[in-house]
């Protein structure tokens, strides 16, 4: 079938001029259809290719000419800080407490040495000169062995490495290793702890925050202040030396946040040489050790009685005669043998008065109150060395009486710090922490006593330092309040008369508490200067006084005029017994 349009077609015309091949072209039908389809496909493919070229070309221009995205690329591939396998530990001011450094260790390949025909004896002699303290014959034997790897010495100093390198002995090689360094030495040794050679935390924060230290690139910021830590360690050590004591401990904490600013357990340990530590010294007395605390417990007993309205600041108890219960006798160390008001019971540290106060409150109430202050179960902290308190089971009336003055119940100094913080800061209990809190972050905490009770307790604590058993804790200008405690240590099942734990818990400034300080000295021996005394007031209180005077300027706490009328009024206690109750004996 021919049409007119096709008639002028010349079969010999150039192909491109008239696309269909020479010869008659089917105007319709399946053949034409498939031809058109392939034509369209060809065109589409061409367009796609052209587009692809354009895209690649455009991208090349972008990369080569405009150079856009290069800075972004650089930022996206910042070098991760991968050399250290363990994060640093710093104090609250950024002072480095623990870091990981690369050190070289030197080893030998005896086979390679034999191949190089090295004189083993000569090599051992040279190495022994470069590395003093090495056993030369032993080294020569090692170098002459058949093995392929023998350590010569691990973790060299840079000078030693240079010296060995200068020898140029074939087969003596270096291997880079990582080593945990504690630049501040024994400072806060028990808090920081140490890590083993396999990068595993074995004590202290190194153990407690092991996972975090392994994974984090950022340093772990402790709440510890290295300067205050130094002051605390020095002053507790001074008391240990002065009283020829077995050991001691100290904690300083922020009463409003629960941050521990300094914590020590003496004798100290040096984490740089964990192998040299005496196993007995490893015990963190401040957190793991639990002790019968003695009279410092009267802080809780008095707070309980006041908070529960069992008695008032104007109330009192008869402390004329010792209490006989079972085969025990409860008597006063600083006996006044008369009726005592509540402030007097506290300031003269009367066991009789305190026991009667506790009996009035009742056993159940006592147990509930101490539990509320966190004294009956182990506290939480970023350390694993946390002691479990030993509490009376069952809790009889006799226990109620002895617990009132801190016997028959063993708690850790850390628990004391947490509890006393809550008593003085207005009545809010915070959990203790060794990690720095963000500035202006105020943890909510839980209310455990009324604000008025807390204020009364602050007045009583001040009274102890002004006129009671804690006079040596006074620091001019810095309004220290506190309570002494002297406990006879338990030896087996009986109390050892000569073995004391002498403590002082101080709070300052007492009108607006910022820090609570606890100092305890383990088994002090009386000296001539203390007139044969080894009680908390003689042993621990002076240390607290010196610590306050040294740390207050560092912490930016201004001194005040202690005799100004405002302060007098704020801390006034009318401690004299009311006339009706006054006994003839006084």
């Amino acid at each position: 079938m021919k049409t007119g349009a096709r008639n002028h077609d010349n079969p010999c015309r150039p192909r491109h001029f008239k696309p269909p091949p020479c010869g008659p072209m089917p105007a319709e039908g399946p053949v034409k259809q498939s031809l058109e389809m392939s034509h369209t496909r060809l065109l589409l493919t061409g367009v796609l290719f052209a587009l692809a070229f354009l895209v690649i070309g455009g991208r090349l221009i972008e990369v080569m000419v405009l150079k856009e995205g290069v800075p972004k690329l650089a930022q996206a591939h910042v070098r991760p800080n991968t050399e250290a396998s363990r994060a640093n530990i710093v104090d609250r001011g950024g002072i480095l407490l623990a870091t990981t450094l690369e050190t070289s260790s030197v080893y030998a390949d005896p086979k390679q040495m034999a191949d190089a025909k090295v004189d083993v004896k000569e090599a051992a002699r040279e190495l022994a000169t470069a590395l003093p303290g090495i056993n030369e014959p032993e080294l020569a034997a090692k170098l002459g062995s058949e093995r392929e790897f023998v350590w010569i010495r691990r973790q060299l100093t840079p000078d030693q490495q240079q010296a060995v390198n200068n020898l140029g002995i074939p087969g003596v090689l270096f291997k880079v290793e990582q080593r945990r360094i504690y630049p501040q030495g024994a400072l806060a040794g028990h808090v920081i702890g140490y890590a083993g050679i396999d990068n595993k935390g074995l004590a202290g924060i190194e153990r407690g925050l092991d996972d975090e230290l392994k994974t984090s690139d950022d340093p772990v910021e402790l709440s510890i202040d290295a300067r205050v830590q130094y002051i605390l360690e020095q002053e507790v050590q001074a008391q240990i030396a002065a009283f020829n004591a077995r050991g001691g401990m100290g904690i300083i904490a922020d009463v409003n946040t629960g941050e521990i600013v300094a914590m020590t357990s003496l004798p100290e340990i040096d984490p740089n040489a964990p192998g040299a530590i005496n196993p007995d010294d490893l015990l963190n007395r401040a957190t793991l050790g639990t002790y019968e605390m003695g009279s410092v417990f009267k802080i809780f007993n008095t707070a309980m009685a006041l908070d529960d309205h069992v008695t008032t600041m104007a109330g009192g108890y008869d402390a004329t005669h010792p209490i006989e219960i079972g085969h025990f006798t409860i008597h006063d160390d600083h006996a006044k043998a008369r009726w005592l008001t509540v402030p007097e019971i506290f300031m003269y540290s009367s066991n009789i008065g305190s026991a009667k106060m506790a009996v009035d409150a009742g056993t159940e109430r006592q147990e509930e109150f101490l539990g509320r202050l966190g004294l009956l179960k182990a506290p939480t902290l970023e350390l694993q060395e946390i002691g479990q308190p030993q509490i009376p089971r069952p809790w009889h009336l006799i226990n109620t009486m002895t617990v009132a003055f801190g016997h028959g119940i063993s708690v850790s100094p850390l628990q004391m710090i947490i509890g006393v913080s809550a008593v003085v800061n207005g009545g809010i209990l915070h959990r203790a922490t060794l990690l720095k809190r963000k500035r202006d972050f105020h943890p909510a905490g839980t209310r455990v006593i009324a604000e008025q009770t807390s204020e009364d307790m602050r007045r009583l604590l001040r009274l102890v330092v002004e006129r009671g058993t804690g006079r040596f804790a006074a620091a001019p200008g810095y309004l220290v309040g506190g309570k002494t405690g002297t406990a006879e240590k338990v030896e087996g099942k009986v109390y050892a008369k000569k073995e004391l734990l002498s403590s002082f818990i101080g709070v300052f400034p007492i009108n607006q508490p910022r820090y609570v300080i606890m100092v305890s000295v383990d088994t002090p021996h009386p000296n001539a200067k203390s007139y044969g005394e080894a009680t908390g007031g003689w042993v621990a209180a002076p240390a607290v006084s010196r610590i306050v005077q040294r740390m207050a300027p560092i912490m930016g706490i201004p001194p005040v005029d202690e005799d100004s009328p405002e302060i007098r009024r704020a801390l006034l206690v009318d401690f004299a017994a009311s006339p009706g109750r006054k006994l003839a004996a006084d």
């Binding site: 070229f53 070309g57 090349l60 990369v63 201004p558 005029d561």
Partner: protein, 130 residues
């Protein structure tokens, strides 16, 4: 004919240019990677050095060490509470008395006596070095 040549040449030259550019980029990338490795090695080295310097800085700033140096070479002692006061505890002379203060010189003088612990605001240690 000319049409054929033109488009073919355009495409051929484009292919050439793009090919050349590709090689160029590849070599540039290789160079940049070498540079990156070099810089990264430098960064690693510097970081290691910084860690050592940080450790040394901390070591040399040990409180015990500074305390020892202080004792040996300086005639300085920690300040005590009695040496710190506030500005309104400083007595002004009558002529320096700010007019707005509105109190008599005698009153201002009597205030200065209340300074805690003693009158000295700055104490100079006796026997200090000349």
């Amino acid at each position: 004919m000319t049409m054929l040549r033109l488009s073919t040449w355009v495409w051929l030259s484009l292919v050439g240019v793009v090919g050349f550019a590709m090689f160029q980029v590849k070599y540039q990338v290789m160079q940049v990677e070498d540079e990156l490795n070099r810089v990264n090695r430098l960064i690693d080295g510097d970081r290691a050095e910084m860690r050592v310097l940080d450790a040394e800085w901390s070591f040399l700033n040990r409180a015990a060490w500074l305390d020892d140096l202080r004792r040996r070479y300086l005639t300085l002692a920690p300040i005590s509470g009695s040496q710190i006061g506030s500005l309104d505890q400083i007595p002004f002379r009558a002529s320096e008395q700010p007019a707005s203060a509105g109190r008599t010189p005698a009153a201002s003088h009597s205030r200065s006596v209340t300074l805690p612990g003693g009158p000295a605001l700055v104490s100079v240690r006796q026997g200090a070095r000349p």
